[in-house]
Assembly symmetry: C2
Homo-oligomer: 204 residues x 2
Amino acid sequence: MAGVREEKKRRTRQAILQAAVQLFGDKGYERTSINELAKAAGVGKGTIYSYFQTKSEIFLAFCEDELEQVYAEVAQKTGPDARLTEQLMAFFMGQFRYVTRHKDFGRLLLREMIFPKELTVERSKDLDNSYIDYLSAMCTGAQERGELRRDVDLLFVCGHFYALYLITVSAWYMDRLQTEDDVAGALELLLQQSLEGLLPTGRK
Amino acid sequence: MAGVREEKKRRTRQAILQAAVQLFGDKGYERTSINELAKAAGVGKGTIYSYFQTKSEIFLAFCEDELEQVYAEVAQKTGPDARLTEQLMAFFMGQFRYVTRHKDFGRLLLREMIFPKELTVERSKDLDNSYIDYLSAMCTGAQERGELRRDVDLLFVCGHFYALYLITVSAWYMDRLQTEDDVAGALELLLQQSLEGLLPTGRK
DNA sequence: ACAAAAAGTCGACCGCGGTCGGCTTTTTTG
DNA sequence: CAAAAAAGCCGACCGCGGTCGACTTTTTGT
């Protein structure tokens, strides 16, 4: 009977991802080998590579799920009508808390997402797009409330905010910022700067 | 006679770095194996690891030199009295051109510098500091010329600009920006935003 | 001057991520 | 329903980055 094949594939894929959640979550990405993963998923090593091109691609797939959670958590903490900076802070700090809980993880995810290799570019873009969508929604709301200029490209605004988040996380990874509060403080300051502008007040 | 040892060490270290410049520059970082490097430097594999902790550390050492060149090139193109955005663009685009010429390279360098592992944090900080110094100098000048607010922490201003550069490079790696001109355009726009601010013009 | 100690060198070896050709299972064809 | 074709699965195998203990060279102590 036809269709058996497709069903099996779906199941196998799920088994691999399930094993990944288990093992990555348990002992970390770096300390989980593909062989272990294959064993745990009950398939051969080669099979894994017919579902995913690289180890990090498995990781990104795994992260898509995790990110959903973060989004949900953030949505819970602040509504769509809060002030823009408040929403941004909730969004970014929600992610940051995730990163702090999984430092190695987070580094890898960020590395792949921000400076992807050719092989993972597509997956990174997917993740990135869901990011941008989320931020765009926030910004549109803010524009309607008059908290944000309307004569700017939303993509660039989102990029701008995102950039500030990244540099802050980077500062944390480089040990320039130690505590969560340090990070929050720095990020808020940077966001403030971006809103107010850096020109002297008697401006052009 | 004493001192023979020290001299030899210095020479060996130089030989390794020299071989790295040669091979990394020639066939790229990823496609150069430690074994090759060892052969080319005329030492054993293990020896290399008594001079550097990881392959990427060799790379960072190598990059310190390269960066010097970029700085020099930039200094040549624009003086310290040019408008701030012009200086920033020259500085960042100088680096970007380097990155485009060595895509794999650049990715690795950025990954290590922005999201360093514990092992390379120190080296990354060194590189980063030289960055910040350079940017700080530009900003101080701009402040004196009245192109930049004085009531802001320079570190955060530099971080802000740097963040915008990074997100732009990231967009390039993700294939959202293709040509050098695209990148320059996007970066200039973002810098402009940061100077003018994102608040509506009837602002707080 | 020589032996003991310290420092430095080396390549066989390890487990890893990733590949590939042979094998099994499913689907298609007449 | 059998045989050919297509699709999927597997694990031995590859070169890699990195480790380690045996070995060599330099320094130190007497």
